[in-house]
């Protein structure tokens, strides 16, 4: 088990490195860290997308504080934290505190005019869309810099309940990041999800920055622990690596990923998407990697994956082997846009993953 988890951690780091290279072709991941700038892209309202820190990070910044979806690679945590604080500060400047001067002889205007804006509110929550290190590497530092909502019985029973942001994830993500007692975990306990669920979805128990937040499990997609996050008020979906605008999806077969799970996840999101006008805008989709998207982009991606899946399935039904399916070049029409070839992932391995997760298992008919 330990070997599996260590392998998974190593894989995650390698994946993070690969994504870093994809966005900044020169040098190692350390060099990338040193030169790479974050790109903060406005999405809707209080929601922003941060690119350049590994996997995309989604930020909700507002009166309730900061809500993150994913935390990027560890080496970028300081910059992500700085960006989140700037966004929170910006939100505070945009919406200054409520004016309480009226009706009290003791409330003069001079006091608040000295500096009407308080310090940025902390990170309250981090959601991990899955366990890979390019999406969870910043958990430890970012959670430590934050402070979740707590009080009442919880604060009374647990002295440190309010220290750090809560980290929310599907249960399998915690399983991948932790280890049974006595075993060496692939990530430090401070990076682990603090709140998990194992059913279809989880709803945050209160609005955050005006948004109802729903965390939806997408079974057996990129991994066995993927979630989609939906900010219902702002109308923003966060897909994790079920959908990305850079390459064919990475299907982590060793950790439960399947092509059909990814397609189902895309269709699940398309069920939610409502375009603003002429099939663009409206519900925005933050992909795991690459540019900000909407339902039309997601539909193109779903179409492509479905077509490739159908081609593979047809050849498998004819009894063709993996080598024969590879030789058929079932992705040739999409390779110039979505093809990939690096140490971690390649078009060939994508086809292998498609084949493996579609082909009948040995001994089954």
């Amino acid at each position: 088990m330990r070997a599996v988890l260590l392998a998974a951690a190593g894989f995650g780091i390698a994946l993070a490195a690969a994504h870093g290279r994809a966005q900044q072709p020169r040098g190692s991941i350390q060099e990338v860290d040193a030169v790479q700038e974050l790109d903060v892209v406005p999405v809707h309202g209080n929601i922003y997308m941060i690119a350049g820190a590994g996997g995309n990070i989604t930020v909700s910044a507002g009166k309730d504080g900061v809500f993150l979806v994913d935390s990027g690679i560890a080496g970028m945590s300081e910059r992500v934290l700085d960006a989140a604080r700037r966004l929170e500060r910006q939100a505070q400047l945009k919406e200054p505190p409520i004016d309480l001067r009226f009706g009290a002889e003791t409330r003069g205007t001079l006091q608040s005019s000295l500096n009407p804006i308080g310090p940025p509110k902390p990170i309250r929550y981090i959601v991990n869309t899955h366990f890979h290190a390019d999406h969870t590497g910043g958990n430890e530092k970012l959670a430590k810099a934050g402070r979740t909502f707590t009080g009442g019985n919880v604060a009374g029973d647990i002295a440190d309940a309010g220290q750090g942001a809560s980290i929310l994830a599907y249960e399998n993500t915690l399983n991948h990041m932790s280890a049974p007692t006595g075993s060496q975990a692939p990530t430090p306990p401070a990076a682990w999800p603090t709140d998990t669920f194992h059913q279809d979805s989880m709803k945050l128990s209160h609005f955050f920055n005006g948004d109802a937040v729903q965390i939806i499990h997408a079974p057996d997609a990129h991994t066995d622990g993927d979630v989609i996050v939906y900010f219902r008020g702002s109308d923003v979906l966060v897909s994790g690596d079920i959908f990305q605008m850079t390459t064919y999806p990475f299907i982590d077969v060793a950790n439960g990923g399947t092509i059909n799970g990814i397609i189902d996840g895309c269709n699940r999101m398309l069920d939610i998407v409502i375009p603003e006008f002429r099939m663009e805008g409206g519900t925005m989709v933050v992909p795991g990697h690459g540019r900000l998207s909407d339902g039309a982009d997601l539909a193109y991606y779903r179409d492509m994956l479905t077509i490739i899946r159908d081609r593979a399935q047809a050849l498998i039904k004819q009894g063709q082997t993996l080598d024969q399916v590879k030789a058929a070049k079932i992705t040739a029409d999409y390779d110039p846009r979505w093809g990939v070839n690096n140490n971690t992932w390649s078009t060939e391995r994508f086809v292998e993953a498609v084949y493996k997760t579609l082909a009948p298992k040995p001994g089954k008919r």
Partner: protein, 297 residues
């Protein structure tokens, strides 16, 4: 065909200008660029006269004149028109890469700074499309992580009386309505030349994914003072009753994939290796191959 003779001259001038400038992308400094308040007034209601290669009535497998690569051809062979009955495909407008090729009327209006009276943006709206802004105020194009739209993000500059529009951030879309696609990495330069009541609209399209050379197409519009582009509402409906998740396409090896896409080639007796010759089909020499093939017994 009085208008066609008018069309030829400016198109030739534009091409000579572009060739002389050594290319289209990233060479703005080579032009003598005027300020935003110069140029000619393009605003008005314009109706399409016609374009030169019958884009609006595309036939299955008609890929001549498109510098498409092998991947684009394979994708076109797998394409089925029925995909456009999917809910996510209904109500889409034509993208900027195609809309001026369709039979859609065009309205051009200008956005004027109330103080300086400079034109800060042009707006183009085609029937069944969306408002497309062309910014003249010098704002930069968005980052590579910004979303893409059907209209893309456009900036303009005057080259004499010709408006050059550079558009990026365009969604993936078809170049012709028979499955010939460009990618979301396409960029488009448009050149607008007004001559009285006629407007020449030139498209130069660059797609590193599916095109081996720039695709150059032109359309003519005529001013129509009685035109008013009506609203064009659209509702997504169940066009085809099919199981959830089905995406129509031709599987390799099927009759549709193998034979039906040869419809255009068979109908006009054009050799298949000519239809699939990509960039070669843009040049006059392709006629020799067609004639040679037809001459064979």
């Amino acid at each position: 065909m009085h208008h066609m003779s008018h069309a030829a001259l400016p198109a030739a001038v534009v091409l000579a200008t572009l060739v002389g400038a050594g290319g289209f992308g990233g060479h703005a400094q080579e032009y003598e660029v005027s300020t935003a308040s110069r140029g000619v007034d393009l605003s008005g209601e314009w109706t399409p006269v016609r374009e030169e290669d019958n884009t609006g009535n595309t036939e299955l497998g008609d890929w001549v004149g498109i510098p498409m690569n092998e991947a684009a051809r394979l994708r076109a062979m797998a394409w089925v028109a029925s995909i456009q009955t999917l809910p996510e495909w209904q109500c889409r407008p034509h993208a900027v890469s195609y809309i001026s090729r369709g039979p859609s009327q065009l309205r051009i209006s200008k956005e004027v700074d109330p103080v300086s009276r400079e034109v800060t943006a042009w707006h183009m709206e085609w029937l069944r499309s969306i408002d497309k802004a062309i910014y003249m105020d010098g704002r930069p194009h968005p980052s590579e992580n910004a979303p893409h739209t059907w209209g893309g993000f456009s900036t303009g500059q005057w080259i004499g009386d010709m408006l050059r529009i550079h558009t990026t951030h365009i969604k993936e879309e078809y170049l012709k309505r028979d499955g010939v696609f460009h990618s979301d990495r396409i960029s488009v330069n448009q050149f607008l030349i007004r001559r009285g009541n006629y407007l020449t609209f030139l498209l130069v399209e660059y797609d590193p994914v599916y095109l081996t050379e720039p695709l150059i197409r032109s359309t003519e519009y005529q001013l129509d003072a009685h035109q008013n582009i009506p609203p064009y509402p659209c509702n997504v409906v169940e066009e085809v009753d099919r199981p959830r998740g089905v995406v129509p396409h031709n599987l390799p090896g099927t009759q549709q994939y193998r034979d039906d896409v040869r419809d255009f080639a068979n109908r006009y007796n054009i050799p298949w290796d000519v239809v699939t010759a990509g960039a070669e089909t843009m040049y006059p020499e392709i006629q020799d191959r067609i004639n040679a093939a037809r001459a064979k017994p």
